[in-house]
């Protein structure tokens, strides 16, 4: 019998090709089919797109690295659904770019934080100084969020990118409406206003199941 492996070992190009074939099997079977599954490509019926303020809050959330310590992924385990709320499903994250599932919890999961009976005031105090309300917390304080006003210069473009590139169903009228608010009532909004609005929006698609 011919010694195939010596042929492969002596031919780097062939080895690279065969290695790629070998490692692609998992992705081909587990990932590729999901691009065409309704469960992962169709948004939940109760999902609504972010307002401009929530979108700005989400950007601040990413900038400050909140997702490094807080996941947004409730797993289908009783202990988690008991503590946080309904487990996460793919249809909730169809419009998330990038998604913020995270992989490590230093703080609690936040995917359902908007469903919890927590007041806006608490969120503000907690962001400014977490230990004021939770003495044993190891979360850093973010006092500057209350001082910085939101940088709105890219918001119109952001909304259009989400509409045109990511298929989020903003109509032109929606975008105009949001931009009117940006120029009006939200013109002087602080980053804290935006982050709190974003946090309170989390999990709203699942309100009925709570």
């Amino acid at each position: 019998m011919a010694n195939y492996h010596s042929v492969i070992e002596k031919n780097v190009g062939l080895m690279i090709v065969l290695t790629l074939v070998a490692v692609s099997f998992g992705g081909l079977a587990e990932i590729v089919p999901l691009f065409w599954q309704k469960a992962t490509t169709e948004p939940m019926a109760t999902l609504r797109p972010y307002s401009a303020l929530e979108m700005a809050g989400r950007d601040v959330y990413i900038r400050e690295g909140c997702h490094v310590c807080h996941t947004q992924m409730v797993r289908p385990l009783r202990a988690e659904t008991e503590r946080f709320g309904p487990y996460s499903v793919a249809g909730e994250d169809v419009w998330e770019h990038p998604f913020l599932w995270g992989s490590k919890r230093t703080g609690p999961d936040l995917d359902r934080v908007g469903l919890r009976p927590i007041t806006e005031q608490w969120h503000r105090e907690h962001l400014r100084d977490p230990r004021q309300v939770v003495p044993e917390s190891n979360m850093p304080a973010y006092p500057w969020l209350a001082e910085n006003t939101v940088d709105w210069s890219h918001m119109e473009r952001t909304l259009k990118v989400f509409k045109n590139q990511f298929g989020v169903p903003y109509s032109d009228q929606d975008i105009d409406e949001q931009m009117n608010k940006v120029r009006g009532e939200w013109a002087d909004a602080t980053e804290e206003d935006a982050v709190v609005a974003y946090l309170l929006s989390l999990g709203q698609a699942r309100r009925e199941e709570r």
Binding site: M1, P33, R83
Partner: protein, 303 residues
Amino acid sequence: MSQFWSVYIIAIVVLNLAGCAILLLVNLKMTPEEARNETTGHSFDGIQERNQPLPRWWLFLFVGTLIFSVIYLVLYPGLGRFGGLLNWSSVTQWQEEVALVEKRSEPLFAEFAKVPVDELHQYPEARDVGGRLFANNCAICHGSDARGAKGYPNLTDDDWLYGGSADAILTSITQGRNGMMPPMAAAIGGTDAAVRDMALYVQSLSRPDMTGDPQVAKAVERAKPKFAVCAACHGQDATGNQALGAPNLTDGIWLHGARLEDIETTIRQGRNSHMPKHEGVLTDERLHVLAAYVYGLSHSDEE
């Protein structure tokens, strides 16, 4: 999942397993020449590369993983639409877990529901359950030790904004509370001096020794007649009104801070306190146990 993707996944998985098995078989065999020489024929500086058959233990492990994957794919979902003989899914597992705990805890909660709130806190099991409910639902504002924080009431003392009876506590948790003190600066004169005088007077209500200072005594004298507007909620004697959630100002317990600046801020800006309602967030049985736990925090000496 459509028929196409099901077949696609099955094809790749089967191909992958078959490929591994074939690779193993092909490498198992050696040419007679190789077997005779026991080397690959490479030789550098007199060092020869040996060519041995695959070690048996390693071979068996490899075969073992193949067998494992076949058994796994028969029992668990992995082959397209075929759900496996065990019919396992993460969702059904979660449902079973939830149902199991529900079944186990139901009689316990039913038992607790029969006991009135002001007695239930003496049951150690109810206290354990209540403590966990408290940690998950109340501790972020009232603290894990229930001693509260600035703006969030201490639940372990005998001072109650809306009453400390079992009923009042249960209502506070279930329906929530909205405490609203309007900005009062204008009503008491509007000047900084008037606000300072009133703050000193309010502070002196729980610290009578303060009036020993003639400055304070004068401020108290100036502010006292104006307290009538405060008395509408806090009462003529300033001991508060639990129907409105107006705090007692004479007991030395300060929800929004005891410093003179804090009291001035309260007078100037007013305070809005909101206790969210928990009806619908927790089941009635759990609210009952939680109320008993909170009641027990300030009544534990009765045991």
